[in-house]
Structures are given as C-alpha cells and as structure tokens.
C-alpha cells in the first residue's frame, strides 16, 4: 500500500440479491485530506462507508483503511476509525456524559482516563452544560455533536462522516463544518458523504461524484466546475420585448434564455462583459439587473449524469 493514502479502494462491488449497489468503485484518499462522496439518495455512498467501516461484507474488489485490509483485518480497521452515521448512535436514556464514558470504556480507556476524556470532549463540543441531561432531551444538533464527540474518543486517524449535516439547521451545519475543518487541521483523514453540493464545495479536497453505484467524476471542486464550462453573465430585462431585442443583439455570443426575462451569455474574461454591455447599449436595450454566476455543483451533476442532483 502506498503510505500516502489512508483509504484505498479498488473495484469495490456489492450486491443485495439481484440489485447491484456498487458496480466497481475506485477511491483513494490522501492522508490528512477530505474526500467527499457526492451523490443523490441510493447512489451507494452509505453502502461504501459501511463496507469501509467493517459493518458490511462486500462481493468484489479490495479495500484498505489505514493500511488494514477491510475484509481480513477488521480489528485493525476498527481501531483506526471513527464513524458518525446517518442515524445518531447515542443512548437516549443515558446522559451525554454517561454516553461518552460508556463508549470510552468500550474503547478500552481505563475508568479515570474515560472520565477525563469525556469531560474534555464535552467541553470541546460545547456540551458541558448539558452533560448531565438525558440525551433524549437534546436537540438534533446537540445529538449530532455528541455523536461526533464519541467518534473522536480515541482520536482516530480516519473518520467516516455519513451525511453529518442532514437534517441540521443552517447554524448547526456551519458549526459542524467548522469542526470538520479543525479536525483536518489536526491531520485527520476524512471520508464524508453528502447530498449537499455546497458541503462538498466547502470542505472537500477531492470530490467523487457517485451515481448508480459508480464514481462518475472525480476531482477538486474547481476541476469539476471547469468541466462544466465558464462563468455566465446573467441579464434580467423588464419585459419580453427587451429579451427578444437582446437575443438578436447578442446573436454572435450564443445567448441562452434560461429563465423568464433572463438571458445568459458565457463570459471567459472580464472584457467579455464590457463587449456584451456595449452591444446591448448599441441596440438600445437596457438590462434591469446583471449578475455573474459561477457554475455550481448542481450544474456539474446535471452535466455528468444528465439529471439534477437528487433525482432518482
């Protein structure tokens, strides 16, 4: 194994009965980096994470995590990973503190070390005030934080985050992102799955777009955006007559009438913007508003799979 990769997956296949959910997935995650598996529900993201965290057997291919073979060295893998799944895996009847102490003991910390580590993590995740409350009284964001705290008890070198912000409010989501950035700064390798394009854009060093059990594209957010094309200048007009006039005036620039009363033109360079505006001025058409839009990962998804993200 190349020591530069914390996770290496090659030709990974998995079927449930006749349904093939992973059709030969290849992934490599450099140590200390974050790979986002981006895809809609049912793409196979969670299946991949569950295989890599030894929860599920697989049918073909190879997979190593932190140098341990997932199929034959499960204990080595389990000692190397933290897992925060889609379901928060905490005990609602116990308090936050009791949850952490219990999990710490199960991670083989001695009792005194378990208590100290639990206090430390509660503090770090802003849960000290709620430490002695039963977890069933926690908000969704608090449960998720406790769940992540548990995953970090042993400070594992590899962390799996399976849709860590699904169902969280924007503030909690922002906090989760900040925590993930801190973990990355501490040298942790993260494999994150998400349906949120913005999340991958915010956090990932590399993005693997997953669809129908395959990786359909891989690269940095910038690389993926480049595959979709340039930025576009969007012009909004007051009425349909102006739109028609603008389309005529900009004929050479291959304008697109994307939405009602809006015309967009690809602009590779700032000088293109001036040229477009000059042409409109020459024809006597005045745009009401203008906006330069970067391609979004939604556009990436549409281009790569022919469907918007989230559609089955």
């Amino acid at each position: 194994m190349d020591p530069g990769y914390a996770i290496e997956v090659s030709g990974l296949r998995k079927s449930y009965g006749a349904v093939e959910v992973l059709k030969g997935v290849d992934l490599r995650v450099e140590r200390g980096s974050l790979l986002a598996l981006l895809g809609p529900n049912g793409a196979g993201k969670t299946t991949a994470v569950r295989i890599l965290s030894t929860l599920l057997t697989y049918d073909g291919g190879t997979a190593t995590v932190n140098g341990y073979d997932v199929a034959t060295q499960a204990t080595g893998v389990r000692r190397s990973i933290g897992l925060t799944g889609q379901q928060t895996a905490v005990d609602g009847l116990l308090t936050g503190y009791e949850n952490l102490v219990m999990m710490s003991r199960l991670f083989r910390l001695r009792p005194a070390a378990a208590r100290a580590r639990s206090r430390e993590l509660l503090d770090r995740f802003g849960l000290s005030d709620a430490a002695d409350r039963q977890v069933k009284t926690y908000s969704g964001g608090m449960r998720r934080r406790l769940d992540l705290a548990i995953s970090l008890i042993t400070a594992p070198p590899v962390l799996f985050l399976d849709e860590p912000t699904t169902g969280l409010d924007p503030r909690s989501r922002g906090e989760m992102w900040q925590t993930v950035r801190e973990l990355l700064a501490g040298g942790v390798t993260v494999l994150l799955t998400t349906q949120y394009l913005e999340e991958a854009d915010q956090l990932a060093d590399q993005i693997a777009v997953v669809d129908g059990g395959r990786v359909v594209a891989e690269g940095t957010a910038t690389q993926l955006k480049q595959r979709v094309g340039a930025e576009r200048l969007e012009l909004t007009f007051a009425d349909q007559r102006s739109v028609g006039a603008a389309l005529t005036a900009l004929g050479a620039d291959q304008p697109r009438a994307d939405r009602e009363l809006t015309v967009s033109v690809a602009v590779d360079h700032a000088s293109d913007v001036k040229r477009v505006l000059d042409r409109l001025a020459d024809s006597g058409v005045r745009p009401e508003r203008l906006f330069v839009a970067e391609p979004t990962l939604d556009d990436v998804f549409l281009t790569l799979t022919g469907r918007p993200a989230g559609d089955r």
């Binding site: 965290s53 030894t54 929860l55 599920l56 057997t57 204990t75 389990r78 000692r79 990973i81 897992l83 799944g85 889609q86 379901q87 928060t88 895996a89 905490v90 005990d91 609602g92 009847l93 116990l94 009791e98 219990m102 999990m103 003991r105 199960l106 991670f107 083989r108 910390l109 001695r110 070390a113 580590r117 503090d123 770090r124 995740f125 802003g126 039963q134 934080r145 548990i150 970090l152 042993t154 400070a155 594992p156 070198p157 906090e175 989760m176 900040q178 925590t179 801190e182 973990l183 700064a185 501490g186 040298g187 942790v188």
Partner: protein, 273 residues
C-alpha cells in the same frame, strides 16, 4: 459549539489487553448501561414494582376464594405462579429494549468499534435478572403481608432462588431473541406478549387436576409448570419429587440452545442491515 481552533491530537490513548478481558469489560460496561436504563424508564419500573403486587392482590383477594387448592392455602399455592407470570411481564421489556437497540444506530456503532458487540445482549439479560430479582423480592414481601407463609429452610430458599434465576436467564434470552426478530419496537412488545400466557396454561394459577384430559397432561408437564411446581414445593416445604431436576434439565437445555442461536441471529441481523 466552541470556536476553539486547537486541533484534536492524533495520539491514541487506548490501553490494550487480552481479548477475553476485553469481552468481560464490554459485558460489564453494557450491563451497567442496561441497569441505568431501569430507573430511567417508567415502563420498566412499573412492570418491575407495581404490576406484580397488583397481580398478587387480584389473585389473593378476587379469585383466591373460588379456587380449591387442598391442604395448601391459595396464597401459598399461587405465589410461585405469580412470580413466574411477572417474570414473563418483565422480560417483555427486554424484547422491547433489544429491538430498540437494533433499530437505533447504537448497535451499528458498537460493531464499528473493536469490541464484542453482542455483549449488548448480555447487558439486557443481566438487567432482566436484576429487575426480576427486585420483583420477586417485592412479591415475597407483599405476599408475607397478605398471608404467604413459607416453610422453606435456608437451603430450600437457595434452591428456589437458584431455579428462578435459571428460569429468568433462559426466558430473557428468549425475549432477547424475540427483540431481534421483531421489525418494530411495538412489534417486539406484541411478539413477546404470548409468553405471559404460557404460565396460565399450566399449574401457575390453578391446579391442573380439574382441566380436560389433554389440556391437563400438557398443563402438568410443560416446562413452566415444572418450574412453578418445584419452586412452590420448596417455598411451602412439601416434597418436590423430580420436578426440581426436571426444571433444571428443561431450562438449562433451553438456555444452551438459545444462547448460540440468539448469537447467530444477532450476527445475521446486523450484517443484513
């Protein structure tokens, strides 16, 4: 969340040990977890404390007068039967708790950790043992107040409680298995309910001698009746014949089959999800 920027260290503060001592720690920690659950769930407390006493009072005062039990007073006759019925009620909570764990993410987390994840079942069975111990204590105490007069000596008590412990452990494994099979928490409660009626089809509440022939043969010889008869005999100080050994054979046998079957079912269930 705090906005501290100190990164989490990447050292591993883990102590290492032999696999067997690991498994024992896992079991101990998860037993502690299930014991904590008892005081935190009103249903379990209710079934543990209130229900057995109500059952005892109902049978002692409402039905007791109408049942002929020969030389033995009805309260002396029925106490062992009510204990067994309350065991069945108590282990219903075990089915629910096991099913709940399977549906929540917690077993999934245990499985991703370097531990013996099936120890979660040991925790639930141990908690069932404790809950039933409390129930039995409460019932014997309440029984003494309403006329229960045991003749048992120290060794008889020890034997009776030993038999009941074996019975409780075996039935709670069965309940744990039901919890594994159930698809919803409500379903787990429902699937476990028939257990409650098994003692009624036996010698728990009434002597089977007045039952129709086929029913009588079943009622006298089914494993729960054998257990009830042995415990009752030990309590009231009458010879128990071979019922003690039969009870041990039945329930130890059931336990020996259930533990590996339940373990395998656990592994299969978690691998399917």
């Amino acid at each position: 969340m705090t906005t501290t920027t100190t990164p989490v260290s990447v050292t591993t503060p883990v102590t290492r040990g032999a696999p067997l001592s690991w498994a024992l720690t896992d079991a101990r920690v998860l037993i502690g977890r299930s014991l904590r659950h008892i005081t935190r769930s009103p249903e379990q407390m209710m079934v543990m404390l209130f229900l057995p006493v109500m059952q005892l009072l109902i049978f002692r005062y409402l039905f007791g007068g109408a049942v002929a039990t020969g030389d033995v007073t009805y309260v002396n006759y029925v106490l062992s039967g009510i204990i067994v019925i309350s065991v069945m009620f108590n282990v219903t909570s075990t089915s629910v708790a096991v099913c709940n764990d399977m549906l929540e993410g917690i077993v999934e987390r245990f499985r991703s950790m370097p531990m013996l994840s099936s120890a979660v079942l040991i925790g639930h069975v141990a908690a069932a043992l404790l809950r039933n111990g409390v129930s039995i204590g409460v019932m014997v105490g309440a029984g003494l107040l309403v006329g229960f007069r045991p003749e048992a000596g120290f060794v008889d008590w020890l034997a009776a409680l030993g038999l009941l412990a074996l019975f409780v452990v075996a039935v709670s494994w069965l309940a744990a298995m039901i919890g594994l099979v159930a698809k919803t928490v409500e379903g787990a409660g429902g699937l476990a309910m028939p257990l409650v009626f098994v003692p009624y089809l036996g010698s728990a509440i009434v002597p089977p001698s007045t039952m129709p022939e086929v029913l009588r043969v079943i009622a006298e010889n089914q494993p729960v009746s054998v257990m009830v008869d042995a415990v009752r005999g030990l309590f009231v100080g009458v010879p128990i014949g071979n019922t003690g050994w039969l009870a041990v054979a039945w329930w130890a046998g059931i336990l020996l089959v259930l533990v590996p079957v339940t373990g395998r079912l656990f592994r299969r269930k978690v691998a399917q999800r």
